[in-house]
């Protein structure tokens, strides 16, 4: 009988150029923090909070270090800092971690959002358990993006639900029980299909090669090469359902508004900022690479859903009387752009999709933070209750308008880069979808500006006249997000450069294993050398 030791000793030496397993640290650091918080006595809330800040900040620092360690050499599109240990030998499950351009920034984003979310909820009740859940959630989130073993991925994918469930159910608002339950069951139902899909692929491979592994790389190569036709389509759909719920894609989105509306601020920030990205990430990491042909064949379906999500989400958002619901539905629309870009299967599209994921995390995160501050003051989300807040709290108003335009996707903010690229990329392969989707650009302005006008403008009424403006701590939580969004709006290069190799590799993979050929555009040199005349 193998000993516990044998279970955990590395089998394949980590090909990380570092001497130590950075990624594993990254995954477990928050969990350790959670453990520490657990043993801190509950009557010392300030200690617990300190633990929370320190751990999450440390994690963020580690993530930054990861960014520096990431090799940007475009000739090396593969996974980096690989770690590979045997875990559940009997089931062929291995502890395999790795990072590539696609996951890199999702990790960074998650690591960035958590300290902010914690800081934003400094005055929350029951800080101990709150911190514990948040840190566990962070571990799981980072794990999702780093796992290269399908089952490990699924484990994190599923485990994410638990802390989130408790965050919503424990610190949410009026209807939190319903919302939390809905969130949990919805996602779990979706993941059932995903789980079935993962197992199916692995065992199909085992039947033909007599080796059982859930290693994403292996399954990618094998699945793309050996699963064809109807089987591939069915499996692709199984994966798609699982991820579509998370994204969420129309018509599987109705858990999102409820979850957001009733979640605490921190919950909403993390949910929108990081968790929704798991869905799109899953498409890029599993569904498309495993079944390229099926992805190509079924792309129209996903594109239609994406376009519907963009327009429908926007229209429904416009009709909401509740500010938080509006932002929630705006997420549906934004993620629609992501999926549109992803299933354009062009470089610009996928890059744009990924970039939108990143920027949506920043802008929507900022919006949720601001709405949360408003809630702290007015204890409501109803638009009609905020009349004239802008005048009463100018700093808040200014920041909110800035966040609004960032979310609308005004050039100069990161949102534009993402949306523009994904639309551009999609335009090359599926023109008319984009024509419809671009109306989302108009609609975004409609519902957000309308909301701002309905909510904040005008003379403040008695209830709002005395509303205190936001303070230093609160500004500190929002500014990084908006600043980063602004920076990436003008200088997205650092991100895009790191995305490119992986994106190129993915497209190449799809082209290799399907009848799809990425469209080409005439190459009349990008720009004339400076100074040459017309």
């Amino acid at each position: 009988m193998p000993s516990l030791l044998a279970e955990l000793t590395p089998v394949a030496s980590t090909s990380s150029k570092l001497g130590y397993p950075l990624l594993t640290f990254l995954v477990f650091l928050p969990a350790i923090g959670a453990f520490v918080a657990m043993i801190v006595p509950a009557r010392r809330p300030e200690l617990t909070r300190a633990v929370g800040y320190v751990t999450s900040m440390a994690t963020f620092g580690m993530a930054l270090f990861l960014l520096t360690q990431f090799d940007t050499n475009p000739l090396k599109p593969g996974y980096q800092l690989l770690e590979d240990h045997s875990w559940i030998g009997a089931l062929g499950v291995r502890w395999t971690l790795g990072v590539d351009g696609i996951s890199l920034f999702m990790v960074a984003l998650s690591a960035l959002l958590f300290p902010i979310a914690l800081l934003a909820s400094a005055h929350i009740s029951k800080p101990k358990s709150f911190t514990i859940w948040m840190l566990l959630l962070e571990s799981a989130m980072i794990g999702v993006f780093l796992a290269l073993d399908a089952v490990v991925f699924f484990i994190f994918f599923e485990f994410v639900l638990v802390p989130m469930y408790f965050l919503i159910a424990g610190w949410g608002h009026d209807n939190r029980r319903y919302a939390a339950m809905k969130f949990f069951l919805f996602t779990m139902a979706g993941s059932a299909f995903l789980f079935a899909g993962i197992l199916s692929v692995a065992f199909m491979r085992q039947h033909s090669t007599h080796v059982l592994t859930f290693d994403v790389r292996t399954l990618t190569d094998w699945g793309a090469a050996h699963i064809h036709g109807g089987t591939a389509k069915v499996l692709f759909l199984a994966f798609a359902v699982g991820f579509a719920v998370k994204v969420p894609l129309f018509p599987l989105h109705t858990w999102l508004p409820d979850a957001h509306t009733d979640a605490p601020t921190a919950g909403s920030v993390v949910l929108a900022g990081a968790m929704l990205k798991i869905g799109a990430y899953g498409f890029l990491r599993f569904a498309i690479p495993f079944f390229p042909q099926a992805a190509v064949d079924l792309a129209p379906l996903l594109l239609v859903l994406a376009v519907v999500g963009i327009t429908y989400g926007a229209i429904v958002a416009a009709m909401q009387p509740n500010l938080k619901r509006i932002i929630a539905y705006s997420s549906v629309a934004h993620l629609g752009f992501v999926v549109l870009g992803v299933f354009a299967l062009t470089n610009q599209g996928i890059s744009g999709g990924l970039f939108t994921m990143l920027s949506h995390g920043l802008t929507t995160g900022a919006l949720f933070l601001l709405v949360g501050m408003l809630y702290d003051r007015r204890h409501t989300y109803e638009l009609s209750d905020f009349r004239g807040i802008w005048k009463a709290a100018p700093v808040f108003g200014g920041l909110f308008v800035a966040a609004t335009f960032a979310s609308i996707g005004l050039p100069g903010f990161s949102g534009f880069v993402g949306e523009f690229l994904s639309l551009l990329g999609a335009f090359l392969t599926s023109r008319w979808y984009v024509v419809v989707a671009s109306t989302g650009v108009i609609l975004a302005a409609v519902y957000l500006l309308w909301a701002v006008q309905r909510a904040f403008t005008g003379e403040p009424d008695d209830a709002n006249r005395a509303t205190p403006d936001i303070g230093g701590r609160e500004i500190v939580t929002v500014l990084p997000l908006l600043g980063l969004s602004l920076f990436l709006g003008f200088y997205p290069k650092p991100v895009l450069d790191r995305l490119q190799p992986s994106v190129e590799a993915l497209i190449h993979h799809v082209e290799q294993n399907s009848n799809y050929k990425a469209p080409t555009v005439p190459t009349s040199g990008p720009v004339a050398a400076p100074g040459t005349g017309k």
Binding site: K182, F186, G412, G425, G458, G525, T532
Partner: protein
């Protein structure tokens, strides 16, 4: 330091106001009212920089007058790449000159106008930000960079229109402006996608190869770009936002909604003229939309009572002329008119602003009259602007409008010319009406009682800001305000000389400077002269009629003689042909209904209902099972027996008989 090195520093031009914007946004509170001077100074510096750039460019040989400055890669994904570089060529240099020039003047003016406002520094921050964006727009070396500026000015316009957001109307107007513009941007974006798909880049430098593109693509691109332009430049039917935009402070109306931003559409089309050169039909569409807009807006302007709304509609109409020019391929004419229009329309707006200021925020012309005695400088300068826009020789307006009409004639689409000319006639008329109602005739502001009846308050909002009118005798503005007026008046008088229609005498300076492909229209000097006389005559007639009708202002009972003449049609005009109203009805009616159906019917009841339905189904199932669970041993035994029977039936199917 060679000319090119100088031109490589073009980024300074937008950078200066941008810097101002940042500083003011961050430290605005501490700086206080000095903010105005800082902003103006930076703006002026930027103007100086533009002048330097202009001369640097002029020093280059005519065929090499284009410089793309060094920059950094903005967005790059795969084969797509957009750089952050500035293109200085005659067109952009011209634009920068008058944007910064007029801009500085208006900044100066605003110092006086905004004096004492709660958010003074914030105002100048926005103004500077606007200027910066506008300069990025004109200097951008690619469509994408232009789009950056394009959206930037849109943002500033939003912020400045709803600058007094305590006023609901202002907030609404700002929102309306941005959204309407967004509709245009939709076209702009699709156009960019198409261009990238066809040319593989969005750089202007690659536009040359557009000539090889198939006709449909070119036309599509051209029209989509035009859609964008329509939004920015308030062409039918996307003009609806501009009149409401007058909710903003007057300097804003002058700078953004008269002189610079609204002309961005024209600039864009001229920038992308190659598509219109190649396309067979796009031009015609543009020309006709412009012509109709010109006429339409002019007629609406006839009956407006708000001093600023008149100018707003007149702006729309003048923009129409520019598009008419672009449509017939007279690009330089369009730019020419853009410049002159910038001069005199800015002048008119600032004048109007001075009047409003002097009248203690009264905007209704029916409550003015005979102001020339009280604010002579304003009146004098305003009259310059009036003559210019009416197209009276030798004012700036004459030359530019005349050139456009002539080009329209030579395009052999005489209907265009007729429309244009009638537009000119009406323009002359309503401007005369305005001048007479404001500066001549009885001083109606003295005896409010006489005209209480008949004059509905068309401007509740203003009361909120101004308090009841009647703050004593009107007064002349401080020098910061009339200095710009004087300057602009001068420009309105001489501005026309930068492009005289005497090709042989090489007096068409601007034309040759811009060196844009002239629509190859046979033109003859003689005929040209004839046409000009006609145009002037029309202007004179318009003025004559106006004077005759409004010699002594309104009737005693306050009715407007013009309105009286027009009879029932006046109502139509006052409501701008009900376009706005109709749209509002449409949105508040069917559109809202549809949206509500989606959110309540489909999302709540439909999809979410289905989800909850599943849960309910499970509950029902549980209930049934619960009822079966009677607690009676014998029932349970029955269950076992039932199961046994089922199993036996199953094995019956398996066994071999």
């Amino acid at each position: 330091m060679s000319a090119r090195n100088l031109l490589d520093l073009a980024w300074v031009i937008p950078a200066l106001p941008a810097l101002g914007a940042v500083v003011l946004l961050v430290f605005g509170k501490r700086i206080g009212e000095r903010a105005g001077w800082l902003a103006t100074a930076l703006m002026t510096l930027s103007f100086v920089a533009s002048v330097i750039a202009f001369f640097a460019l002029r020093s280059l040989s005519p065929d090499a007058r284009s410089n793309v400055s060094q920059g950094f890669t903005w967005i790059q994904a795969g084969t797509f790449r957009a750089d952050f570089r500035f293109l200085v060529d005659p067109l952009s240099s011209t634009m920068t000159l008058f944007v910064t020039g007029v801009g500085s003047l208006i900044h100066l003016y605003a110092i006086g106008y905004m004096h004492g406002d709660a958010r003074f520094s914030r105002f100048f921050a926005y103004l500077n930000l606007f200027a910066a964006s506008m300069l990025v727009l004109v200097l951008g070396s690619s469509f994408l960079l232009t789009f950056l500026g394009w959206e930037g000015v849109g943002l500033c316009s939003y912020l400045l229109i709803s600058f007094w957001f305590e006023r609901n109307s202002a907030a609404v107007a700002g929102k309306k402006a941005f959204i309407t513009n967004r509709v245009g941007d939709f076209g702009f974006m699709i156009a960019m996608f198409l261009i990238f798909q066809k040319l593989g880049t969005l750089d202007y430098s690659a536009l040359g190869s557009a000539a090889k593109l198939p006709q449909p693509a070119v036309t599509a691109i051209a029209l989509l770009l035009f859609l964008g332009a329509m939004g920015k430049s308030a062409q039918l039917p996307l003009h609806i936002w501009l009149p409401d935009a007058m909710e903003g402070p007057t300097p804003v109306s002058a700078l953004i909604h008269a002189a610079t931003m609204v002309t961005a559409g024209v600039f864009l089309l001229v920038r992308a003229h190659v598509f219109f050169d190649v396309s067979n039909h796009a031009g015609t569409v543009v020309a006709w939309v412009g012509a109709i807009t010109a006429l339409f807006a002019a007629t609406v302007a006839l009956v407006q009572n708000d001093i600023k709304r008149v100018l707003a509609y007149s702006t729309i109409s003048q923009l129409g002329y520019m598009f008419l020019a672009v449509g017939v391929g007279a690009y330089s004419a369009a730019i020419f008119h853009m410049v002159t229009h910038a001069f005199f329309k800015a002048l008119l707006f600032l004048g109007a602003g001075a009047v409003i200021h002097g009248m203690h925020d009264e905007q209704d012309m029916r409550r003015m009259g005979g102001l020339r005695k009280y604010m002579p400088i304003t009146a004098g300068t305003f009259i310059f602007g009036w003559l210019a826009i009416a197209g009276i020789f030798p004012f700036a307006g004459f030359w530019s409008k005349d050139e456009i009409l002539a080009k329209a004639w030579f395009s052999h689409d005489y209907a265009l010319w007729v429309v244009g000319v009638s537009g000119a006639l009406i323009t002359a008329f309503y401007m005369t009406r305005q001048v007479w109602l404001v500066f001549y005739g009885p001083e109606r502001w003295r005896d409010d009682a006489a005209l209480v009846q008949g004059i509905g308050d068309a401007h509740e909002g203003d009361e909120a800001l101004a308090g009841a009118h009647g703050g004593g005798v009107p007064h002349e503005s401080p020098w910061t305000m009339y200095l710009p007026l004087v300057a602009l008046a001068a420009l309105s008088l001489f501005g026309g000389f930068i492009d005289l229609p005497f090709t042989n005498a090489k007096l068409n300076v601007l034309d040759r400077w811009l060196d844009l492909p002239e629509s190859h229209l046979a033109s003859s000097f003689g005929l040209g002269l004839l046409l000009s006389t006609v145009a002037v005559a029309v202007g004179v007639i318009g003025i004559y009629l106006g004077v005759r009708l409004y010699r002594d202002g309104l009737r005693r009972d306050g009715t407007d003689p013009g309105v009286e003449r027009l009879g029932g049609f006046a109502g139509v005009l006052q409501n701008a042909y009900y376009l706005d109203l109709g749209l509002a009805r449409l949105v508040s009616g069917p559109v809202t209904a549809f949206a509500r159906f989606l959110s309540d019917g489909v999302d709540r009841a439909g999809i979410d209902g289905a989800v909850n339905g599943i849960a309910a189904g499970a509950r029902a199932g549980g209930g049934t099972l619960r009822r079966i669970q009677t607690g009676l041993v014998r029932n349970y035994a029955l269950g076992i027996a039932l199961g046994t029977v089922l199993l036996l039936l199953y094995v019956a199917t398996r066994m071999t008989f």
